[in-house]
């Protein structure tokens, strides 16, 4: 039993969890209002979009790639879904949702094809498609916003009503997505192949892993999840604006994912860690205004957190390499 706890404490997730608790205690000490059900509710509502997109980004990072275009994919799916709601109100809501997810997957697949076909660094490709897809958003929408009155009530209620314990639908969907991602990554052959590819892209094909298929898959999934997040954006905020929706979203998501202990060197990362990373960032975004700190500090915090997480990741990796070398020399 003690060994079990020992192992638990040495996991990356434990560190993030302790940090969350620590922040909650410190903030609660300064401002007792923070420790309340209301805070919990606001935090819960702040995270679903990030959580869903983070699941996709995490898979991309584990495969040793990165996807900078998710903010624009989110906006594209969101605006098309919004336009379907506006121009074809007779269609059921689910059509808009499915179209958004499918479009997201298609744009993600496009990223993947460019990366695979031309062997380009994904970060530069997706920097290009970040702009390209944003251009598509303006093009299809004619630079017009989809106004609140066109977003179906049933969709907006997803972020307001709750089936159980007052937890809004949106939050439940996000955690279901996280759970399914966990099942996929940890309990399917394909899921494990993503880790194998990211750990060692040279060895992966030699072990019979279809590198092209896995790479296309992670980018498509990342796109599809960003698409889903797009519909949820419409639900949460009640409008879609071509110039605002999803701008800078990728940086928040990447911050959350690397804080969650997903390594940018591929092969390392868990769903639990990512969920905790998203929670940590979400909690800070709620705590800042309660503490009377200007919301302007949010980006400073996100940026500092990315840099810090990279530093920690590097230290951990160095230590594990050293430990491995020692184990080898004593053996």
């Amino acid at each position: 039993m003690s060994r079990f706890f020992n192992e638990l404490l040495h996991r990356r997730e434990a560190g993030i969890f302790l940090m969350i608790v620590l922040i909650a205690i410190v903030v609660g000490f300064i401002e007792p209002r923070f420790i309340s059900v209301e805070t919990l509710r606001i935090t819960a509502l702040a995270i679903p979009l990030i959580l869903i997109a983070a699941m996709g980004q995490m898979m991309v990072l584990v495969a040793r790639h990165v996807d900078l275009s998710i903010g624009s994919i989110l906006a594209f799916s969101s605006i098309v879904a919004g336009m379907i709601f506006r121009d074809m109100p007779e269609l059921p809501v689910i059509v808009g949702v499915l179209v958004a997810i499918a479009l997201g997957a298609a744009l993600g697949l496009f990223n993947g094809v460019l990366v695979v076909l031309f062997r380009l660094p994904s970060i530069i490709v997706t920097l290009g498609t970040l702009s390209l897809f944003r251009g598509f958003v303006f093009l299809v929408s004619g630079a017009r916003q989809v106004d609140p009155q066109f977003i179906p009530r049933s969709l907006i209620q997803m972020s307001q009503t709750s089936p159980i314990f007052g937890i809004p639908w949106l939050v439940i969907i996000a955690f279901v997505v996280a759970f399914v991602t966990y099942l996929f990554l940890d309990h399917t052959r394909l899921g494990r192949q993503i880790y194998a590819l990211g750990s060692n892209p040279v060895a992966a094909p030699l072990r019979g892993i279809n590198v092209v298929r896995v790479t296309l898959l992670v980018f498509s999934l990342s796109g599809a999840l960003a698409g889903l997040a797009g519909v949820m954006y419409a639900s949460r905020f009640g409008y879609v604006n071509p110039g605002i929706t999803g701008v800078g979203f990728e940086f928040t998501v990447i911050a959350a994912v690397v804080v969650g202990g997903v390594s940018i060197n591929g092969g390392v990362g868990t769903v639990l860690g990512t969920v905790l990373g998203v929670l940590l960032l979400g909690m800070v975004s709620v705590a800042l205004p309660i503490l009377g700190v200007s919301a302007f500090w949010q980006d400073v915090f996100n940026g500092a957190v990315i840099v810090l997480a990279l530093l920690i990741d590097r230290t951990v990796r160095e230590r594990s390499i050293r430990a491995m070398a020692e184990a080898r020399s004593t053996a």
Binding site: L114, P121, I123, L127, R134, G135, F138, D299, I306
Partner: protein, 344 residues
């Protein structure tokens, strides 16, 4: 990584006479016209000519030197940074934070000026801020050995956030009249920002092509390991480049402040795309070791011609996002293909 492609490239040409240790040696065996044609800068130049011809077709008002120079003032702010970024990418690193460095150093300048500091001192403080941000990037990349491409995403968010903390969401203005409107002042009939861009191009081109340190930058990008063994101070040179980029960003930020007569935290949002695009379009190899200032110089003009061409043709600014993104992707594909054929 591109081993397979490069051997195919060798057998397809007449140079398959054995191992070519240096890329330069391989190039010498080709006929002269091939050597010239296969330079990626030529691709940029041809594209520039085509873009110019198309733009002239689109609007009769386009082919006017004064008009093009005036519209260039916006893009040269990015282009000056892109020149320094070229050196960094040749050295095998990248920095995605210069647009955010522009914003933060400009906010420092404006905030200090508002506090009553003489404008000259505020400018010095802005340049120092730029240098410090460059040092911070450099320390993270060189001392802590973090991959520059990801770490500068972190610092880009950080610097942009600092700009927002400093300036809030107001715009800061009220600069003295002599400071405002540098894009409407001329030296020898050319707007001052464009002159500065030309000077920077010449200085950096000479530095890269004719000084020992300049040549060592190529060496570092081709093989950092070999460069280190050859006694090249890899860390020091890279650090110098990161600092130079910070300083250049600060200068560009002040040019923008002068042009707009105000400073906001969201200055140059998304500018990193344009900067990387200029470097990539100019044929600099994303994995380091190859590229030229001339290429980036041409690519900057290509972008200027495309953007102004689209403006005079009344193509919406939002469609330009599509063109920019598309160009970035096509340009890396093209330069990668060219280098895969010629290297080794």
């Amino acid at each position: 990584m591109t081993d397979k492609i490069s051997t195919e490239g060798l057998s397809a040409s007449q140079t398959a006479t054995g191992e070519q240790p240096a890329p330069k040696g391989a190039a010498e065996l080709r006929p002269m016209w091939q050597v010239i044609l296969i330079r990626p800068e030529v691709m940029t130049f041809v594209l520039l000519l085509i873009a110019f011809a198309v733009a002239t077709q689109l609007s009769p008002f386009f082919a006017d030197a004064t008009f093009i120079l005036e519209s260039a003032t916006f893009y040269v702010e990015y282009a000056i940074i892109a020149l320094v970024l070229t050196l960094i990418i040749i050295a095998g690193e990248i920095d995605l934070s210069p647009a955010a460095m522009m914003a933060f150093s400009a906010c420092v300048f404006a905030a200090l000026f508002k506090l009553g500091l003489p404008i000259g001192l505020a400018m010095v403080a802005s340049v120092i801020t730029g240098a410090l941000m460059g040092i911070f990037n450099g320390i993270l990349v060189l001392r802590f050995k973090l991959p520059s491409i990801i770490v500068t995403i972190g610092t880009l968010t950080l610097y942009r956030g600092l700009a927002q903390v400093l300036a809030g969401d107001r715009s800061i203005s009220g600069f003295p009249t002599w400071f405002i409107g540098i894009d409407w002042k001329y030296w020898f009939g050319v707007p001052i920002p464009v002159v500065l861009f030309l000077i920077a191009t010449v200085v950096l081109a000479v530095f890269l092509a004719f000084t020992v340190t300049g040549r060592q930058i190529y060496q570092i990008g081709t093989s950092p390991e070999a460069a280190r063994h050859a006694g090249i101070r890899v860390q020091r040179i890279k650090m110098g480049l990161f600092v130079l980029l910070g300083v250049a960003s600060s200068f560009a930020g002040m040019l923008t402040a002068s042009r707009l007569a105000s400073v906001r935290y969201d200055m140059a949002t998304g500018g990193e795309l344009q900067m990387v695009l200029m470097v990539m379009l100019g044929g600099t190899y994303i994995f380091g070791g190859r590229g030229s200032i001339a290429g980036t110089f041409l690519a900057a003009w290509l972008l200027i011609v495309i953007a102004t061409g689209m403006n005079v043709a009344n193509i919406q600014i939002t469609s330009q996002l599509i063109v920019m993104g598309f160009l970035l992707i096509v340009s890396i594909i093209a330069t990668n293909a060219i280098y895969a054929r010629t290297q080794r």
